[in-house]
C-alpha cells in the first residue's frame, strides 16, 4: 500500500501556505515529502489550497485528469528546472529562496510521476556550466541538495522510489558524495519510479566519458574498433542505470528555447516542450499541459505514419 504519510508529530500544515516560503530561512526547517497534506489541512479546518487533489485513498494510483490517456503516458520524462533565480528576483527574494521553492515544485512533480505511472524522471539539477555561478550560490545549492537527500531518504525508500545520480562527481564535496552513495545503495531495489538527478552533468561530458570507457576497452583488447556502434555507446553512457535511457518528453521551464547541453545523445527523438512559467510556478497544471501536448504529437522516428 502506498502509505505516504509523514510522522504526525512533525507535521506542520502551516508550512504549505505559500507565504511560509519566505519565512523558512534556517537550516533544518525543510519540509517533509508528504503526499497527504490535504488530509492534514482538512482535519484542522483550514481550507486546502490544492482543492483539486483527490482525497487520500488506499489506491496505488490516482486516476488521471480529464484529457490524459494512460496508454499514451511517457515512460521517461526529463525536466530542466530553469527559472528559480528569476522567480526569486521577481518576488524580491534572494536566489536561494528561489532554489528552495524549486525543491517544492520538484516534490510535486515527483509525486505526480509516481501516481501517474511514469517510470523514470530525470531532472537537471546542476550543470557543468553552472560552476561559474558565485561560490555562495553553489555552496548553498550543494548544501540544499545534501540536506534534501538526507531528509527525504526515508520517505523515498518507503514510496518505492529509486534514486540515481549522474554527472561528474569529481568536483562535489566529500560529504555530498557520501550521502549520494548511501541514498543510491538504500534505494537501489525500488521499482515504482526512478528519479535520476543530474549533478555536474552535461551531454557532451557524458559522451566523452563513454568514449574514454570504450577507448579503454579497445586498449584492453576487449573490443575491436570496428565493433563500436550506437548500442555500445548507449551502454557506456551514464544513463545506463535505467532500462529507459531515452526520454520521451523533455520539459524546459522559463520560456528559454534551448536544450543547454542537457542529455545530448539521449534526446535524439525526444519530444520537446517549452513552458513559459518559471520552475517554481510550474506545478501540476503546467505538467498536465505538457503531458497533453505530448499525447497529441505524432511520433514517426524518421518513418511514415501511414
Amino acid at each position: 500500500m502506498l502509505s505516504l504519510r509523514v510522522p504526525s508529530t512533525s507535521f506542520h500544515p502551516r508550512r504549505f501556505h505559500a507565504g511560509a516560503l519566505e519565512r523558512r530561512w534556517r537550516l533544518g526547517r525543510d519540509c517533509f515529502l508528504s503526499f497527504s497534506h490535504p488530509r492534514g489541512t482538512r482535519s484542522l479546518g483550514v481550507k486546502s489550497t490544492k482543492s483539486e487533489m483527490a482525497p487520500f485513498t488506499a489506491a496505488e494510483e490516482e486516476t488521471l485528469p480529464e484529457g490524459l490517456h494512460p496508454e499514451l503516458m511517457p515512460k521517461h520524462v526529463a525536466v530542466i528546472m530553469d527559472g528559480n533565480g528569476r522567480w526569486a528576483k521577481n518576488k524580491g527574494l534572494q536566489p536561494w529562496d528561489g532554489h528552495r521553492a524549486g525543491v517544492e515544485a520538484l516534490r510535486e512533480i515527483v509525486e505526480l510521476c509516481g501516481k501517474w505511472g511514469i517510470q523514470v524522471l530525470t531532472v537537471f539539477a546542476f550543470s557543468t556550466d553552472n560552476w561559474i555561478r558565485p561560490k555562495i550560490e553553489i555552496d548553498f545549492l550543494l548544501n540544499l541538495f545534501e540536506r534534501t537527500l538526507k531528509s527525504e531518504l526515508e520517505t523515498l525508500a518507503k514510496n518505492n522510489v529509486r534514486i540515481s545520480i549522474i554527472g561528474d562527481s569529481s568536483k562535489l564535496p566529500k560529504s555530498l558524495l557520501k550521502v549520494i552513495n548511501e541514498v543510491e545503495e538504500v534505494t537501489k531495489n525500488n521499482t515504482r519510479l526512478q528519479l535520476i538527478v543530474a549533478v555536474g552533468y552535461s551531454g557532451k561530458y557524458d559522451v566523452l566519458q563513454a568514449c574514454r570507457g570504450i577507448a579503454q576497452r579497445v586498449k584492453d583488447g576487449e573490443i575491436e574498433v570496428e565493433e563500436i556502434d550506437e548500442k555500445l555507446i548507449e551502454q557506456e553512457l551514464e544513463t545506463n542505470c535505467t532500462e529507459f535511457p531515452y526520454p520521451d518528453l523533455l520539459i524546459r521551464t522559463s520560456g528559454e528555447l534551448r536544450v543547454s547541453n542537457f542529455l545530448l545523445w539521449q534526446l535524439a527523438y525526444t519530444e520537446l516542450f517549452f513552458a513559459q512559467e518559471l520552475w517554481p510556478d510550474f506545478g501540476r497544471s503546467g505538467f498536465i499541459e505538457a503531458l497533453m501536448s505530448f499525447q497529441q504529437r505524432q511520433r514517426r522516428f524518421g518513418g511514415r505514419k501511414s
Binding site: S202, R212, N261, L272, Q298, G303
Partner: protein, 330 residues
Amino acid sequence: MCRRENNDLSGNDVVQSFITGSGSFPTFASLNSQLRILVLSLLPSTISDPKNLGTVLHFIYLSSGEGMGGGIRQLLEQVHRLSRRSLFRVLSMGPLPTHLAFIMDGNRRYAKKRGLEDGSGHKAGFSALMSMLQYCYELGIKYVTVYAFSIDNFRRKPEEVQSLMDLMLEKIKSLLDKESIVHEYGIRVYFIGNLGLLNDQVRAAAEEVMKATAKNSRVVLLVCVAYNSTDEIVQAVKRSCVEKADRDVERIQLVDIEENMQMSVAPEPDILIRSSGETRLSNFLLWQTGNSQLFSPDALWPEIGLRHLVWAILNFQRSHSYLEKKKKQL
C-alpha cells in the same frame, strides 16, 4: 534571377531617357496607372542609388515591348529584391547569426493538403529551400545547414526512397550548372553524412559538387544526407579511439571528439528552425545544437517564407546579449 539583356545601358542613361523622353524608352506619361504608382513608390528607395531606378525602368521598357506577363514578373521580382534589401539593412543593425540550420519537415503533408501527387511535395520543398538559401545569403549569413535525408528515412517505402534519391540526384547535378545559386553566391557545398549508404550515382554527384566548389569561400552550404547525429558521434568516437590508441585514454578530450566530427567544418548553429510545428531534434546535430535557439513554426516546409526567417532572427537578437554574456563567462 533578373539579368539585364543590354549590358551597354547604364541605369543613369535609362533614367535620363525616361525623364526627357528621348530615345526609344517609354516616358512616365506613357505608362499605365498601375506602373506609374509602382515607379512612384520606388522613388524613395532609389534616392541613395539611382541605378536601382534605372534597372526598374529598364524592365518596364522590356515589359511594354515584350508582353506584360514575363516582364511584370521580372519587375516584381526586382521590386521584392529591393524591399528585401532595405529590410535586411534594418535587420543587420542588430547581431546576425553566423550559422542557421533547417529541418525541412512537412513536404508530404503539404502535397496531401494541396491534393497533389506524392512526389511534388518534395519538389515544392526544394523551391522553398532555394528561396530560403537566397534570403540567408542576401542577409549575409555565412553557414547554412539543411537536413535533407536521414538514415532513418531509409526505412520508408522503397518507392518513396527511390524517388527521393532520384530527385536528389537531379538537384545535386543542377548545382553544377552555371546559372545555379552556387555560382551566384560563391557557395562552398559540403555533403555531410554516411555517404557510403547512398547509391553510387548520388555519391559520385555529391563528391563532384564538393570538389567543384572547394575553392569557393564566401558562404557555405552543408547538406546532411544519409545523416544521423548518433552515427556522426559513433564515427568520431571510433576515430578518436584509433588516434589515441597508444596514449593514455584520460588524454582524450572534448576537442578530440569534436575535431573528428564531420560538422567540424562549421561553427555551432545559432538557430535551428524546424518546420511543420514538430518540436524535436530527430537525431539532427545533437552535439552541435546544445546552445542553439530552437524555433518551430507551424508552416510546412514548402510554405516556409521570409517572415519565418525574420521572426527567428528577431528572437535571436532579443536573447543574444544574454547568451553572449554567458559565453564570455564560460
